[in-house]
Symmetry: C2
Amino acid sequence: MKRIALDMDEVMADIYAKFLYYFERDLGWRPEKKDYWGIKIYELEGATHLRKYLHAVGFFSDVTPMPNSQKVVAELQQHYEVFVVTSATEFRNSLVDKWDWLSTHFPSIHWKNYVFCGDKSIIDADYMIDDHVSNLQKFRGKGLLYTASHNVHNKDYVRVNNWLEIRQFFQEELAKEGKTL
Amino acid sequence: MKRIALDMDEVMADIYAKFLYYFERDLGWRPEKKDYWGIKIYELEGATHLRKYLHAVGFFSDVTPMPNSQKVVAELQQHYEVFVVTSATEFRNSLVDKWDWLSTHFPSIHWKNYVFCGDKSIIDADYMIDDHVSNLQKFRGKGLLYTASHNVHNKDYVRVNNWLEIRQFFQEELAKEGKTL
């Protein structure tokens, strides 16, 4: 079976919804997509401190799974080995939160297939779906760029905007082998 | 730089000393090496429950670094990228303990180079030092088998019995390239 390395934050988990929650609480207004599209939300004026919340216990514990992600992961698992490869070791307190979140929201993914790391260049897989261009640049397999505010200008990778487009991509990959998702 | 993937338990960290502590506490006697050499200590009569302690908060927090491991890791880092690749995701509560332990005892290893995983076949590196034959079997680089009670009969890999032998191995590797450790 070919192997897919799935990023967690901003691919499986809607981290920006959480940032928006904290942004509005701390700054008193809620930015619209147009305000941070093309940058990171914590690059907006007065919002630098938001990134520090990534270190807090609980930040990752109650984020929302991306629409259709659970359903499409289950479909992909029929044909691929699905690993979650998440940059977690920068954030000591994220480790348990992420473990709990994955086991709650993606119970079909075995703990054997969790990878909590820092530098994804050590990952050997056939596909990587990630919102960070820097991770895809060091990857030797096929990289898919999941759209996030900070990567909208990149044109170097197959872009996926949502999980239905991920599904479509792998439908086409499987069709080349005469298989259906 | 070539990359070394270091296992943590029973390679960097003396897990068996901790098992012996619990064994003696729970069973009232302290096994000698000859009693468990060739098997796992928790395969001894009455000791099956010991493996459950791996799931407890704190089990991994105060283990002792293997003799010479810190010094040799620092030397290896002059010539290699050193990653810690540890089977941690089976044990939710080990994650933070392992993070804290690594940052305390091996501060020269950056968090970017921690990999907490389950299935090491996803790791791409040049060398892997591990006490589990199953991990080396799935590894495409050069595997070094670190002696532990459960692997003493294996003859398929370069065997290292301690960190001075690891040092010696890499001295010889570097000598092939005209370098010295």
